[in-house]
């Protein structure tokens, strides 16, 4: 009998839930750069639509804890753990944590590498936010 290790398939589809369009877009693009299929939700209500949509495949949820909607990020994570335990949920508080999490996901995803450091992503988000405020 063979004992060859069969690696688990790497996740390939990520649902991002973030109410800040700048952060959501930049992190989503970073993950697309890592060959993930990315679904963007602006709030938890949209996330539930995505999770209930049979044509959408989702392996991982990256959710900002302060995401708005009829349920907050913690409640979404709790619902997923109870109802869709096969999904991995990563909660992030702020762009720095989200970018770091995205970089980690890149290393376990289709390309098994991060295209560049998460600090560059955070710097980019900060520059965009600064130009929005000026």
């Amino acid at each position: 009998m063979t004992t060859d290790h069969i690696p688990e398939p790497s996740p390939s589809s990520i649902l991002i839930v973030d109410g800040d369009i700048i952060s959501r877009h930049v992190i989503a693009d970073y993950l697309r750069h890592c060959a993930y299929a990315v679904v963007e939700a602006a709030n938890t209500d949209e996330a539930f639509v995505a999770l209930r949509e049979p044509t959408l495949t989702i392996d991982v949820i990256l959710c900002d804890v302060s995401a708005l909607g009829s349920r907050n990020g913690f409640e979404l994570a709790s619902w997923v753990r109870s109802n869709r335990p096969e999904l991995e949920v990563r909660l992030a508080a702020g762009a720095e944590v989200a970018a770091q999490t995205a970089a980690e996901l890149c290393e376990s995803g289709p390309h098994l590498a991060r295209p560049y450091e998460p600090e560059a992503v955070v710097d980019y988000i900060k520059r965009l936010r600064a130009s929005r405020l000026s």
């Binding site: 693009d29 679904v39 602006a42 949209e46 995505a50 949509e53 560049y116 992503v121 520059r127 130009s131």
Partner: protein, 135 residues
């Protein structure tokens, strides 16, 4: 699009693809339309309503806006169009609606009009008419 991070190989994050801001409050429609446009080779920013779109426009200059008309919030698609015509008159806007008469959208400054319900190919065709076939 604003300057973006470089990969270690020096490749631009957003590359040089043309950037489209999609403004649509119906989540699945926005997802499918954005996905289709990315498959066609465009960089896409997804906004869930006109307020998010205005927030983006303070930061980046897309090459094109595609906007639904009826959306929740203080600003609808025609309000967004009026704002864009005031601030960046040369920025092309494609209006998508199932209620509005095409002539009204064009009179108020839309570059193209696509009636709902639509085939995704119809939107990509309209985009290519506005931006040209070169990505």
């Amino acid at each position: 699009m604003s300057p973006s991070p470089k990969s270690p190989g020096g490749q631009d994050f957003a590359a040089l693809r043309k950037c489209i801001l999609v403004v649509e409050d119906e989540f699945l429609i926005r997802f499918m339309l954005s996905d289709e446009l990315r498959d066609a080779g465009y960089q896409v920013i997804e906004a869930c309503d006109a307020t998010e779109a205005v927030s983006v426009l303070k930061t980046v200059q897309p090459d094109l806006i595609i906007s639904d008309v009826r959306m929740p919030g203080p600003l609808d698609g025609m309000g967004l169009l009026a704002l864009v015509r005031e601030t960046t008159p040369a920025l092309p806007v494609i209006i998508i609606s199932g209620h509005l008469h095409p002539a009204q959208a064009l009179i108020e400054g839309a570059t193209q009009f696509v009636a709902k319900p639509y085939l995704m190919e119809a939107v990509v065709d309209a985009v290519q008419k506005v931006l040209g076939k070169t990505l």
